[in-house]
Amino acid sequence: MKENVVIIGGGIAGMEAARQLLLLGYHPIVVEQKDRLGGHVGQWHRLFPDMASAQDLIRGLGEEISDANIFLETKVNSINRLRDGYQVMLSNGVNVACRSLLVASGFQLFDAARKEEYGYGVYDHVITNSDLEAWFNGKPDVRIPEVPENVGFVHCVGSRDLKAGNLECSKVCCMTAVKQAIEIKEKFPSARVWCFYMDLRLFGKKYEDFYLGAQQEYGIQFVRGRVSEVGETADGRLQVKAEDTLTGKPLRVRLDLLVLMAGMACNPEMTRLARMARLDIDSDGFLKSLDNIRSINASNRPGIFFAGACTGPKTVPETLAEARAAALDIHRYLQKGL
């Protein structure tokens, strides 16, 4: 009989970990709140830097974990400590005893409506990065004009912002903005695109190429200054104000579409789990790893491990790598126990 490992969260972290645990000879039980696997990436269109299809990634992972036990639309009701493991009660009535648990509960997209000055949900043509990906995936969106003339991207929405309750950088938004700006230019070659940034944090492999390409081939303009407020003009367009910090002048621009790069916020479900399993929460609100260098996958509780964005903003490849590392950690933990 194969040993159970409960994986909380069926996003890419949970899926990759399940795949690895299957290969290592365990019986992973994936618990997912939603009615589908894949999490945020599952709703994304293309992934930088290779512009690979997010759907293909999820489909591929999904096929490889068909032997795992997957509970969709299921929540964890309680986690109780046993003598050498945990008793996990699920909302579908299933009760699992396991010696090891993986928390892969991910993040929550920052609710852009909370940045009231940007008017998400108030103005007709303000959308988020996530809305844009959904549109790229074919979901109709009345907020996106047929042929937008002027398009703006606002970086750091809900990130690096005390007022939004998140001082940290969400890491992926700069690159996402550059990627999406390029994609917008591909869809609407005549559009003028401005990215409003505070710092361009393009740290990863090939990211700088994207930035250069965005300037060189697509003529996307980068304006250093955070958008201060958005208003709607008489003809239903948006008036966006910012300071061009490089010239020290206030800027005003009329746009047909404004895309807010909503950052990664803590998942409230994760906070609930932390309370149930008595896991430590870090100062940024995310789960606290045992340490942030060697043991990013380890929690303060024996047998409970972390993978992915539940400990902080991560890119897709980082999340996948962490999931693999966590699977190995679990394997080692369980081996040692035997």
Partner: protein, 356 residues
Amino acid sequence: MIYEGKQKIWKDYQKEIPDDHWYYVRSCIRQNFFPASERKFTDITRNDLGKDVYETPYHTTCGGIAYHCDAIPQETAMTIVARQFALMTESGYENYVPSCVTSFGNYVEILETWREFPELETRIREQLWKACRREFNKPKYLAHTSDLIYHWRNEIAEKARYRLIDKETGEPVRMAEHIGCHYAKMFPSKGIGGAEYPYVLAGMIESWGGQVVDYPERRHCCGYGFRQYHMKANRGYCVSNTHKKFESMEPYGIQAILTNCPGCCYFMDRWQYVISEQTGKTYGKDGFGIPVFTYEELAGLVLGYDPWDLGLQLHQVAVEPFLDRIGVEYDPKAKYLGLNKEDLLKPELPTNLKCF
């Protein structure tokens, strides 16, 4: 504009407002600009709505204007405020309502500061005691007079003689609202509707039949700016801000502006004259300006008060086109008659801004 989106935000920013028993404090500058507004507030609340609104002649300025002009330190303002609270306490009230937005902001700021730094409150209490042997309780509820009118807007609407509807077309009157900066920009949670999409004035306009029109520079300062205006050299900067607002408003065909701050009402009214002198441009129809009202004046108008009793002749921008639009009855000849029906003589006319 997605109206439901705004409603969602408005729902997030509501505050508890007791229905009765308010200790009322007047604005120091407002009585010079639009003296009837405060008087009519007491009339409307006491007579029309039957509320207990108490005031005492012993109260002073709250110190906010001097504080915002960098003329006094905050501690001085705090001590002044402490005395105001002492007067309220002595009068047996615990709901405090100032008529000035800057006062309101000043009170909120001071109460929040005391909450964060209780030792400061203790020191102010000592200073007040040393200065005038008074003691005070902090108000249980703090509201701005516009909050109260907002609170009672539907009762006013029920008693209203006129509605904000164009008599000719039957269309709602297109109105812009302008909120004083000190109302909620410092403490968004203290204003009805928050800081980005305040509802306090929009609620009145909607309730009385008008249509609220949003425009891009809605949030922008009226062009007073306290110490900016008080330095004559900086007044060009002040009026430029007002100019920016009116330029932004222009395409929307706005028929009137409702304000809740003494300075805003005054400057948005008077600067229209200065702008018209300097640029030759007016923003209303046929060479008129856009009339700017206080919420008391607008409440008074819909309730059927005589426009000249509401002091509307003290506005630079002529209000008659607006009165005609919603069908308010008035005697054009009585515009410049004093209380004793004595002729006050007509004021000198501007070059470009049409006044009648």
